[in-house]
Symmetry: C3
Subunit: 219 residues, 3 copies
């Protein structure tokens, strides 16, 4: 379990750092940094533990996770404003955290249920929810509605890890493959603007207009 | 239990379809469709299971629900843009899903606690939360703040089902009555613009202004 | 436990009242008042119970809490529009609710885990989450992004209560000290505009611009 424990702490610390950088962009006060660091750092894992059931969530059982978030929040409070390329840093740390957390989430889901479907979903959810929550409470446009690959990278990493684990590869190898898949896809999305094709798209009209008549040509 | 199981699958599939249609309006990519379909399809039931306690949520115990969401998401990905009246379809499917889910949620709450108050609340919550979550993550104006009957329809359906069940009507009849109440009210709201009276209303001032003095006439 | 039970009911009722006042500002209908009163009244405690694990949340075990929320919502429906200084009232009731709920949340967290870190976090979370949720669903600017002291007051109250309890002060005294700390800080923030220092701040650029080059001077 030591690789997974390391990934867990690393994922929490990296997402906490992105939360602190978001707080820095919003010019929040000291407690605002702690709040954003903790919410982003433990948000995804909290949702994962809640849906899997089985008692208190991970940071209630082991407050070390919270203390990591707070220390990271304090560090970013004193240093974040000095980083000229703060938003780029946030985005890249988020990519590494995403890679660590999708493997960790899939491992927990697979251990708890044995179902590969659940493992992929808990991996994706653990990795993606922290960033979604950070954007939501920071009132930034959600990563979900941007065209770049994000949830896809988390899902790919979780799927690769789950497949490799079911194929009985050793843990260090399946973890590395899962992380490489997630980080490779997300990094390509950040650097080259990779996105999935959208099939045939057609934008939605404003809700008011869309409820009015005159458009029922088919049906 | 077979009527309730059918309603559960139907509610999940219908809400998943509305999530896919929302993704289509937002021109998301393939994984975006899966994400919106799953979040909308299982969101309400997940919240219900969390507050009732008792271990893993329903889709962790039975991944069929997830697979339904994904299949519906894939179907809408390939067909949603072709529907000229996409938003009307979203709204009407949501109404049928609301009717199925308020009965299902009330039945689970009543079975778990025996309390009619809890049954009505879990029914309302199960039915309304998926749509609220969909609007929130799609960044659409929330149905909660629109004047139409929505939460009211869910509450009415849950209350009718709970009352009929306590009155020892057979399950098929109490389910039908509950669904008819919810769908009737919501359908009337969509088609005729039904809304509840608002008593004496007075709009709120912007928060900044409201904190300034000059208005303390009473008190 | 009677002091804590009283604080629990009081916190629920006060936050329910602020939810009702938010519904009044948004000119919602009757069911909208019930929904906002219940969501704001029980939101923080629900999150606390979920992360602590241990079965159904408090209002499922004891529906009295829901009934209090509904009665408060009905009362505000008939009276809220008559209050000229409705938003000021909302803010001050929220401050009293915050004080009651940070003590109650810390007491539950401490009883469940024995960890002071967890107690401070559950206290802060219980007190702050109801208001955050209310602002989110009412589509108001979140209190989190305003410069005033808010989360800080909840955290201070939870910390004072936890410290006093570990120092073996009697319950009535540690509760009073915790509430006084939270209400004093929050009240000062409302009345005098108290805020924490922000160290060296620098606003974030819009996300689009921040991803473009030309700014990588250090690194």
């Amino acid at each position: 379990m030591s690789i997974l424990t390391f990934l867990d702490y690393a994922g929490v610390a990296l997402f906490a750092a992105t939360g602190g950088l978001a707080a820095s962009r919003k010019q929040l006060d000291f407690v605002g940094f702690l709040f954003f660091a903790a919410t982003t750092g433990i948000g995804g894992g909290t949702l994962r533990d809640l849906v899997l059931g089985g008692g208190p969530v991970f940071w209630v059982k082991d407050p070390t996770y919270l203390i990591i978030c707070f220390m990271v929040g304090i560090f970013v409070f004193f240093t974040g404003h000095r980083v000229e390329w703060r938003y780029r840093l946030l985005v890249w740390l988020d990519a590494v955290g995403l890679a660590a957390y999708c493997v960790m989430g899939a491992a927990k889901g697979l251990a708890a249920t044995g179902s590969p479907t659940i493992a992929i979903v808990t991996g994706t959810m653990t990795a993606a929810f922290g960033g979604i929550l950070r954007d939501l409470i920071a009132n930034e446009p959600s990563i979900l509605l941007r065209p770049e690959i994000y949830v896809t990278a988390a899902m790919a990493g979780a799927a690769v890890f789950t497949g490799a684990t079911l194929g009985e590869l050793p843990l260090w190898l399946s973890s590395s493959l899962g992380m490489a898949a997630a980080f490779g896809l997300r990094g390509g999305a950040i650097h080259y603007g990779w996105m999935l094709p959208r099939f045939h798209s057609r934008p939605g009209r404003p809700t008011e207009e869309a409820m009015k008549g005159k458009s029922r040509r088919k049906g």
